[in-house]
């Protein structure tokens, strides 16, 4: 302690660190880097050798990683991906609005809204509990079969509605937890200034709640981006369906790999953006708490 104090007076700008301790830290740092590199090389080396030397690898390679079919499938699957992007953009727009409305309804205390709260609770339970694929099948084949005049019969429309219904249930819960996480004292402060209930939500509670739930919301949207492929069971030729058509025609699975790569490419930017936002919020929180 006393040497520390003496040294920091002699050299005020640089915090004093015991030289022996500094050397030990550097040695530990170099050793950690070495171990990390070696274990990574060994791990992936063993996996590559195990897969490559397996008996079935040449067959698998030809069936899934065939360069000829890759070039053949690439443009067609890529063109079909436009449909997935359309489904995603339209669905996301409605999911955000409906999810927020549902969350606000379930949190309201107004007696007149009780029936809506009951509907909201049942809706959330039903659509979070039902597999999304099942919702797509039921709506996509069921509703057009009713032959009701005035309703669209396009499977693409019903597939998109199914995704909206399924994901709204999740997103509403994300919003609800965000709103509930805002401390009641914020509401009290707003009300004490004379702001009404709606104004308090609009200007004080929701802006903070939405900021807080952006990372989990984006996470759900990464999931929605790839679940647009579920609409393929209804027939529209989106990316997965386009790949499937080639697979059935050529008896080679490479187009599936093409579709997988395209879906990954579609979701990676959103996933990295989510990571970045989460990290930024974490930094703000730690620097803000003084």
């Amino acid at each position: 302690m006393s040497t520390n104090a003496g040294a920091s007076i002699a050299e005020p700008e640089v915090p004093y660190v015991d030289p022996a301790r500094r050397a030990r830290r550097q040695r530990r740092g170099r050793r950690n880097a070495f171990v990390a590199t070696m274990s990574t090389v060994v791990f992936f080396g063993v996996v590559a050798i195990a897969v490559g030397s397996s008996q079935g690898w040449p067959v698998v390679q030809d069936a899934f990683f065939n360069g000829e079919y890759f070039t053949l499938a690439w443009p067609e699957v890529l063109a079909a991906l436009v449909i997935n992007i359309k489904i995603f953009v339209v669905a996301e727009f409605f999911i955000l609005i409906l999810g927020l409305l549902l969350a606000l309804t379930r949190l309201s205390k107004s007696p007149a809204l009780l029936p809506l709260r009951i509907v909201g609770t049942v809706y959330t339970d039903v659509f979070r509990g039902t597999p999304t694929l099942l919702v797509v099948l039921l709506l996509g084949f069921g509703v057009p079969a009713l032959n009701l005049s005035g309703l669209p019969t396009d499977p693409l429309v019903w597939g998109t509605i199914a995704l909206i219904l399924s994901y709204t249930a999740y997103v509403a819960e994300v919003f609800r937890s965000g709103i509930a996480s805002i401390h009641p004292s914020q509401r009290a402060a707003a009300r004490s200034l004379g702001l009404g209930n709606v104004q308090t939500n609009r200007y004080v509670v929701l802006p903070q709640a939405i900021r807080r739930v952006i990372p989990p919301l984006l996470n759900d949207f990464v999931s929605l981006q790839k679940d647009t492929a579920l609409v393929s069971v209804l027939g529209p030729i989106e990316a997965l369906r386009a790949a499937q058509i080639i697979v059935y025609g050529k008896f080679n699975y490479t187009p599936y790999i093409v579709a997988a790569l395209l879906f990954i490419a579609l979701t990676i930017p959103m996933a990295r953006f989510t990571d970045w936002l989460t990290a930024r919020q974490e930094r703000q929180r730690s620097s803000g708490s003084r």
């Binding site: 004292s185 402060a189 004490s192 200034l193 004379g194 702001l195 009404g196 200007y203």
Partner: protein, 245 residues
């Protein structure tokens, strides 16, 4: 007493089975400064929250500037525009700048134009030595600065009276003085004030009247010199012996 700006008459309030206010009766005249003292749980905060309509009462009447806060059809937003409230934990809106915190209610509740609200906010900030902080966010300010901004935010609604709920209890000791100075300044400008505090020295300086609260009622009230120097009730003496050491 038509002159009373605040009047609390035989108010009862329980949280579940925990009766916090049990026949609370109290009045504050215009331009008067009344300080509430008493142990934790004696009902100081609950009383202030009931006056501002943040908690509904179970029995009794609270009148604010002629408006009945406790009526079933009370227009609580109208009451809250007349009474400013400042909390122990500041409660600034963390997603807004200091200026936005202050101008929000005047713009959205009173319908003041953005320019005018900003001008008034800057005038108030200057008056309390905070003009340099107008564009900062609350987390960049010290606790004392945050609490002074919270006071300015309440004043921006041009209230007739201010309620202070232990506004210095969450502050580091060296920051208490700057907040108390603001309240002293408000008294000098003639503001009607009802405040709960543990700062006995400040109560002695500033209060026109001190009320000692015990078990949900006003046990005794009077001028500071009498309550702090020569209390009639044994409970008051016990309390003062504990807090004054």
């Amino acid at each position: 007493m038509a002159l009373d700006l605040l009047r609390v008459d035989d108010v009862h309030k329980a949280f579940g089975t925990n009766a916090v206010l049990r026949g609370m009766t109290l009045s504050v005249a215009a331009h008067e400064v009344v300080v509430l003292i008493g142990a934790s749980g004696s009902g100081k905060s609950t009383l202030l929250r009931c006056i501002n309509g943040l908690e509904p009462v179970d029995a009794g009447v609270i009148m604010v500037d002629g408006l009945d806060v406790t009526a079933d059809d009370a227009d609580l937003d109208a009451v809250r525009q007349r009474v400013g409230m400042v909390f122990q934990s500041f409660n600034l809106f963390p997603h807004m700048s200091v200026l936005a915190n202050i101008t929000l209610a005047p713009r959205k509740v009173l319908g003041v134009s953005a320019d005018e609200a900003e001008q008034r906010a800057r005038d108030l900030l200057t008056r309390f030595g905070l003009e340099a902080k107008a564009d900062d966010y609350p987390d960049r300010l010290s606790g004392g600065q945050q609490q002074r901004v919270a006071i300015v935010r309440a004043l921006a609604m041009q209230p007739q009276a201010m309620l202070f709920d232990e506004v210095t209890s969450a502050l580091d000791p060296e920051l208490v003085g700057e907040v108390l100075d603001v309240i002293r300044g408000l008294k000098e400008s003639g503001m009607t004030i009802l405040m709960a505090t543990h700062e006995m020295g400040f109560a002695r300086d500033v209060a026109d009247r001190i009320c000692f609260l015990d078990a949900g009622r006003v046990l005794e009230s009077g001028p500071p010199a009498q309550i702090l120097g020569d209390p009639h009730e044994a409970r008051t003496r016990e309390f003062l012996a504990r807090v004054l050491g």
